[in-house]
């Protein structure tokens, strides 16, 4: 049964991190992860770890959740260490690798938790906007992505409902033959197809009512407070590296 009915991991909140400009967040995460893997020594790791922990606290999301995320990659970490030990890497080097992976994961998780998908797509679109030189219609594409995402979440909810309904009618997925499973999937896909067409048609109507035009730009709906804090820190960091 599909239990997740929201796409993406966005968690609603009102922390400083939540309210940062998504473009800044994206750029900073790129800076962070790049410098994270460039400075492969134990002393810089302390700095990176502190930075990420600061971020975690400021996001006001419980630490348990972050730990859960890290817990999920424990196998990868384990095998990496094992692998590296076979090649005779030192303990400190192993520690660095683990910290790099964990920090990168945590940093990107913070960004994902604190930025709604629409903001993320907006940020990606802005960053890709130089590509309009090549006549790629960025605003329209971002529109389409936004619509596709909300459509997708509607479809997920609907699919969940259908699965529940089938279970209630006796479809025991775990105890039936392959043939029956195929039949059931055929039924579900049929319904999904019909539903998506009807939904698309009516959403198109609603869009006409809301007077959407094909060229309209995507709107910025929040006053994005530019925060230079992080950018400065990382640029400073970069300079430090150059020295």
């Amino acid at each position: 049964m599909l239990n997740r009915i929201t796409i993406g991991k966005y968690v609603y909140g009102n922390s400083i991190v939540h309210n940062w400009n998504p473009i800044i967040k994206l750029v900073c995460s790129l800076f962070y992860i790049a410098s994270l893997f460039l400075f492969s020594n134990l002393y810089s790791m302390i700095f990176f770890v502190f930075l990420v922990i600061f971020l975690l606290f400021f996001s006001k999301i419980s630490l348990k959740v972050y730990l859960k995320v890290v817990w999920q990659i424990r196998y990868i970490l384990f095998f990496l260490i094992l692998f590296n030990c076979l090649f005779g890497t030192s303990l400190s080097q192993n520690l660095v690798i683990i910290l790099q992976l964990v920090c990168a994961l945590l940093y990107s998780t913070v960004v994902l938790f604190t930025t709604p998908i629409s903001d993320l797509t907006y940020a990606i679109m802005v960053l890709l906007s130089p590509l309009t030189i090549f006549r790629i219609p960025i605003p329209m594409i971002s529109h389409m992505i936004g619509l596709a995402l909300s459509f997708l979440s509607n479809m997920l909810v609907y699919t969940n409902q259908i699965l529940k309904s089938l279970s209630a009618r006796g479809m025991d997925y775990f105890h039936c033959s392959l043939m029956e499973k195929v039949k059931v999937w055929k039924l579900i896909l049929n319904l999904l197809f019909a539903h998506s067409i009807q939904h698309a048609d009516e959403i198109a109507n609603t869009m006409e009512i809301r007077l959407y035009e094909i060229d309209s730009k995507r709107i910025i709906f929040r006053k994005f407070n530019f925060s230079y804090y992080d950018v400065i820190l990382l640029i400073f960091h970069f300079i430090f590296f150059l020295l």
Partner: protein, 283 residues
């Protein structure tokens, strides 16, 4: 068949973050052979209660006893279909879940899943249709092309095909015109009186509930706040209002008469009974 909730709590993980409590401290027994209405503001937990009974969800704590089955978090019911065979759940908008291309296939689908061998399948199909007030001409029609009311009847008929002991309806009156509502009421009466089924109806339409249920359970902010005989619950119009629920009109009227003119009209189900009281008091 009796349904019993014991110390049930239900919370669900909302995307690894917020634990959303939907039901808290639920202790209630739904009597066998009676019709019970579950009332509450939208989102109060009515649907969740029904889904728990059909084991579509597992309680976070506590247990639910449905006949001889016990539904608990840690226990895996071996043959869940046995439970589901006894419990029929009609969802909120069943018309969006018509799967087959003909009414006949749709009705037989229920039997297929349960591998229920039935000699006189055709007979049962016709019976189910007759019970919901549709004739055999519907057998070859495409369920997707019928009206709301007709689709809903087909949905109920397909659940009736397996003849469950417990029948649950989630908001059955949304989008139904008055005529279809009346035929639904008639159907439920037959199911209770002639077939002695235990019926649970989750709805915010108190007028509809008054005409058909025996008992009422009120959910508010995840808990059960009122329960009992329908008149006992519905007559507390002020309290119900606090819970976001509007009492049935006919009960409200009797209350106003009582409060303003100190005349005790009975609490009735239908206007024609109320008329007798009014006539007596006014003349």
């Amino acid at each position: 068949m009796e349904v019993k909730f014991k110390d049930v709590n239900y919370t669900y993980d909302k995307v690894n973050y917020e634990k959303k409590e939907v039901l808290k401290d639920i202790n209630i027994t739904f009597a066998d052979g009676k019709i019970t209405g579950i009332v509450g503001a939208s989102g109060a937990g009515k649907t969740t209660m029904l889904e728990l009974i059909d084991a579509l969800l597992l309680p976070s704590t506590g247990s639910i006893q449905v006949g001889k089955f016990v539904i608990e978090k840690k226990k895996n019911i071996k043959n869940i279909n046995e439970l589901r065979f006894q419990v029929g759940l009609v969802f909120q908008s069943p018309e969006e879940q018509m799967f087959e291309n003909s009414v006949r296939d749709e009705l037989e689908m229920g039997l297929k899943f349960y591998h229920y061998k039935l000699d006189k399948k055709e007979e049962r199909v016709l019976d189910a249709l007759k019970m919901v007030g549709l004739d055999s001409s519907y057998l070859d029609k495409n369920p997707q092309k019928l009206s709301q009311g007709e689709k809903r009847k087909i949905a109920i008929a397909s659940i009736l095909m397996i003849n469950p002991n417990v029948l649950m309806l989630d908001e059955p009156t949304i989008g139904l015109d008055p005529e279809s509502k009346q035929s639904l009421i008639k159907l439920l009466r037959i199911l209770k009186n002639r077939f002695h089924k235990t019926i649970l109806i989750a709805s915010h339409d108190t007028d509809f509930l008054l005409s058909i249920v025996d008992d009422v359970v009120v959910l508010h902010r995840k808990k059960i706040v009122m329960q009992g005989n329908k008149y006992d619950v519905f007559k507390e119009t002020k309290q119900l209002k606090q819970y976001g629920i509007k009492a049935p009109h006919i009960i409200e009227f009797s209350n106003i008469v009582l409060n303003k003119k100190n005349v005790r009209l009975g609490y009735r189900d239908e206007i024609k009974d109320l008329m007798k009281d009014i006539y007596r008091h006014v003349k």
